[in-house]
Symmetry: D2
Subunit: 401 residues, 4 copies
């Protein structure tokens, strides 16, 4: 049905050794400009401010997710037989393209621009883009079907599960990759063992009981990565300053766009309107960093200062949020001539390593017991059960210079 | 006080890169015959029957524990200042020598011979041996003090804690080493981070609050190593057959020692008397394997069969113990002409990853909080708290051919 | 003499585990804006076009070189004693700052802008910059002395040797780091063994004869990294297109700067004059990539096309250069409407793994023989001797669409 | 033709992650007693005396060689098509069984017992053994065909090449494995890249020109492993003492076997006759170490002393052989009452990393050039050419207490 290469294309990768690409439609998507753009967006946003080698891009993560989906199809017992070739290619493409709508420093960018990466991912796949043209020419239904897997709405639940269940190609790649590139060992888990533990029962992806240790390991890896890497206070300080920077840009833009002369390319994002795909294509971390450069010379002192802080890593300090300290801190800031609206920020992080039966966390992990029954993971793993019952951990921080 | 080398001796090691030895008394102990004997005893007993590369010896583990103690003294903030040079050397020697009394396939051997490895460790250090002579000539109190650290009875609690607390050099080395040599990733944890998290407060070894993730990681590593490696049913099957083999030897010996001709060197262990250090020195895995060779030719059919099973890895199968099945299995064995006394065995394994306030598990792990207080780990780690509260996991297995 | 921290600052790093910083002047330099700028310049320029994870920056390499120099001082026998504290700090700073003058895609950028990175490194250290101010305030001679080590002209030859001999901190870090981030194993060598093999004799850094294997290994690693990574045809294709892109910019600028409107910030580099440090600070890979974005919309078709190729990775193909094929290829290009001046490029790469007695390759590697004599490496290593005598390997390639 | 498992048996392995076994005949051979015996013979003989973790057995190496052959068949382009299923199983078995005839401390043992491991490998496969029975019952020609591959005499040259060419499964496994278990990095090379570089042309295993870097890397790994590990003076000192120990045993045996009472099981090896397969089965490192134990109590002082040296690692010191020093050393030994016949030994080690056109080194490595021609490696690799021309390196050592 789809054009296959006689000899697969390969890409060297530290996590998977090689990425293997046999289908032309996949190779073409990798070479599309919207996909190449992911090279200009770091996987971990501001984390490189604390883990200086966390400079890897969403490009490498995306090909990594594709590779894990490909391996699942090839190696998970019973999976290949469940899926038509069309479905196989669909789910591999979904793995490849699931992050294509991310903007620069995605979390902050979404808050400010009011355009979620999920929405942009759908638009790039379904609207006028190189990716859309490539998919359509391979098969007219492909854009729609790939998009539905990414939004977990494909009728064949199995496809959704591979890309974004609780134990999916996305999470598996990012844990291993982020651990490798930050140089920490928290995120390492035994992916080979997890893949070997997976099988298909009742048309569902399940884990053999003998493999629950590998899955417990994976869940702990996730938990530790969140607290040690993803929620690190210094990354969050960078995001705090960035949020305040964008906020200031919007205020100045609303007063008079001329305040931001030299950064006209950012204007579409400062308007309240929906952004075009062309404008979106332009918005990557290079462009944002270029904006920092330009705006360090802004006449607005606050904007210039915040731009310089982002460019040169003069971040805010942080402390555990104590409500009662806020007025005092604001007073101190005001005394130093710093506007508390732009020099004080608080945020909170919450995470649980695994929450069964919570739809917002995606699918459950299912265990296939030796007696043939299928149960949810926390019912057989006392570790996971204990974790799932533990109190939700929250970390609230206050940031200021 | 002690003779130091100008240039340390080094030993290449896959876990610690190099082992560094600066004190002559330590180097001399390594070269003592009782220590060299540890090369002939595998660290993981019968585990090589399932993890074929688990062939590493207690020798390499012992120098590894020494190296971690040495690094703790050099690197844990505040520790060096707490300890005199004499105490430093004492605790390094305790790390080195803590396993010197292990016999071959230690767990089984202890059951049969009624001599615990702890008792033999004390005897080798305190009685007439090369080790004892070396220690004594370095300082007359050294044998007694090294022995007391190993038995957790040294008055300076800190020394005991380094070698065998819950977060000690012994456990840290064996988790990393056993993971490396079995080729699994379960036992990996970030030792560098753990060492960096340790500090001394109120003369105790404590973990800084910022480092509890590293410790959680270590506790999970321990938990997984137990269930995946140490309690693997096939290792336990080897131990089951070995126990029955020794049992048969004792019965035959009590009838008439001539039954065991050719294996006279084992006789001291078959008597009810205490064994001499010289006899003990002889008892290593080579000698036991030689015994298997000789006894495959025994006239006693049971003994010859069990010896051959141990030599050639014809182990028993296993199943989860169901009391009601025992009579049926015994009947089947009898029908095949197999004496159930020697062809049927059951055992159980219990493990919890961390149990606070249980003296049998050694010391607690103490956390030094940001506010200056010191609390037990499970009070600040919701993961560890959850695990400590979880039901004790037990695994009971029945073995037969 | 210099302010030291009681507890060193640390930075997590995949190559060295941790970077340890004890001197305030070093920490301040890392936080200077010229040093933070290195985060926006990739260590391997265009190599990420073929090794997609080669996205690491000169920032991480620079702190890595510093760390190796620090370790050499701490660990190489005899070195600490040779150097005053002032010299120690000088050489650590030289390691840290040796690449601070690199521009984006350095090789190409130097050719076009006629400003070498060596020259800019000197200027940033010696002229008006944050770095210069930090160094000067720590000690008035520091800028001059750090700069002289970097230009190999410091009177104490040993300092020059640590940072850029044939077996120096710079090469050691980049081989290990580039191997790690490309995911190849070519560049791995046993740095621990190399450090252990080094010692000081006659005020020179030498290698003990027992360590020449480790050095042979290192030289082979270098050789393979060159051919497999640094000279990879696809990196060179990216550089070819980039060179032609800059060439076109210069031509258009000379005709009329208005042709390049929207990219005024690049103008200083298109003039024939020397660039200011402020202008240089602006020039990083983000800015260049932003330039690609803007110029894809240029009215000049050639420039717009080349900009799009660089942004979206539509590189030129390549073949081994055969002089006789050039006219034919140019003719074909012309027929397709492509100006051969901007669509045809050739370059050559030459490398030998180690060349003794060639000043352009830096210092020799000296071996301290068991008999006490000191000889050049290729005289005792038959492998290195053979390599040094081998014909120079050259690779000439022709690039076109 | 052969019985295949639906789900392959797997064995966890640190080098290959998992060993996969699909054919029952292969699994049966692994469980044969002659193969299990390899667990009692260390891969590196006496090297554990210097690299204390080099305790891995020929068992793990043998399954590793099998796994590489299996992967070659599955992954080397064109190979599967060249071979019938019968040939595939034959060559996998040859990889598995190629070392089955090794005795304890093989090199020394061969010299003394006058039975080469090659000869015993043939005998175990072809004569009365469990292995022979298993092979024969799977196919009557299998013993003969497997044996002929191992002796490089199979008519299909390709099969011989896979198991023991210059770039074969045997060498690839031992380099990686010995590097891992000694904890050195010398033997690491990129096996994935080598496997990808291999292909079949003109019914021969060749390397694509683009892969010669990976092969150069492999050849250097080999070279360094020889000098750093395999020929380490301390391993050779152990072998020196062991040789003298066996020599003394033979002398005493010829005088009167009663001199060696308690070690009757060794007698077959001390006679001038050929040994039976049953006697050979008994001879493993456990038995030899048991012999050391027993003979430390010998009435013959020389034998008792040498046995104790081997057991407790009191090895001889070494120096570079200078002929003129021999008489002096012998005189000194005699003065100390040590018989120079048993306390003085010299040996030499010679190695070249790759020698084309030398039949004693096995097959050449063939390179398939881009122009379609096939040439010997040293003709296209200037590094290998240089090495092949370099003088042969020899290391002669003299050992004495």
């Amino acid at each position: 049905m789809f054009v296959k290469y006689q000899e697969p294309e390969v890409m060297r990768d530290p996590i998977h050794d090689y990425i293997h690409i046999s289908y032309q439609v996949i190779w073409d998507c990798i070479n599309a400009k919207e996909f190449q753009r992911l090279r200009r967006i770091r996987q971990l946003g501001g984390s490189f401010q604390i883990f200086h080698t966390a400079e890897h891009s969403r490009f490498s993560h995306s090909v990594g997710v594709y590779e894990i989906v490909r391996r699942m199809i090839a190696e998970v017992k019973g999976l290949k037989e469940e899926l038509s070739e069309y479905e196989q290619v669909t789910v591999m493409l979904a793995g490849l393209l699931h992050d294509i709508g991310h903007g620069p420093y995605s979390h902050v960018f979404e808050t400010i621009s009011h355009c979620s990466h999920e929405r942009f991912t759908q638009r790039i796949i379904l609207e006028d883009s190189e990716i859309n043209a490539i998919l359509k020419s391979a098969h007219p239904d492909l854009p729609k079907d790939v998009a539905s897997v990414i939004s977990y709405t494909h009728p064949n639940e199995l496809l959704n599960q591979l890309v974004s269940g609780q134990l999916d190609a996305d999470r598996m790649d990012y844990l291993l990759r982020d651990a490798y590139f930050t140089g920490t060992s928290y995120g390492r888990f035994d992916m080979e063992k997890v893949l070997r533990a997976m099988t298909i029962k009742q048309h569902r992806l399940v884990v053999k009981e003998s493999g629950i240790y590998a899955v417990e390991n994976y869940i702990m890896a996730r938990y530790h990565m969140y607290w040690q890497i993803y929620y690190h206070p210094i990354s969050r300080s960078f995001e705090a300053v960035l949020t305040l920077f964008f906020k200031r840009m919007q205020v100045l833009y609303q007063k008079d766009p001329a305040n931001l002369s030299g950064t006209e390319l950012f204007f579409p994002f400062l308007k309240a309107e929906e952004i075009s795909i062309d404008d979106f294509f332009f918005m990557d971390e290079s462009s944002v960093q270029y904006g920092f450069h330009v705006l360090t010379k802004s006449e607005d002192e606050i904007l210039a200062d915040l731009a310089g802080r982002l460019l040169n890593r003069h971040l805010f300090r942080y402390e555990t949020l104590t409500e009662s300290r806020i007025p005092m801190i604001k007073k101190e800031l005001a005394e130093k001539g710093l506007d508390p609206d732009y020099y004080c920020y608080f945020d909170r992080a919450i995470q649980k390593p695994y929450q069964p039966y919570r739809s917002e966390n995606g699918h459950n992990i299912w265990v296939w017991k030796a007696d043939g029954s299928i149960v949810e993971l926390s019912q057989v793993s006392s570790i996971v059960h204990a974790i799932a019952k533990a109190d939700i951990k929250e970390n609230r921080l206050l940031f200021y210079p």
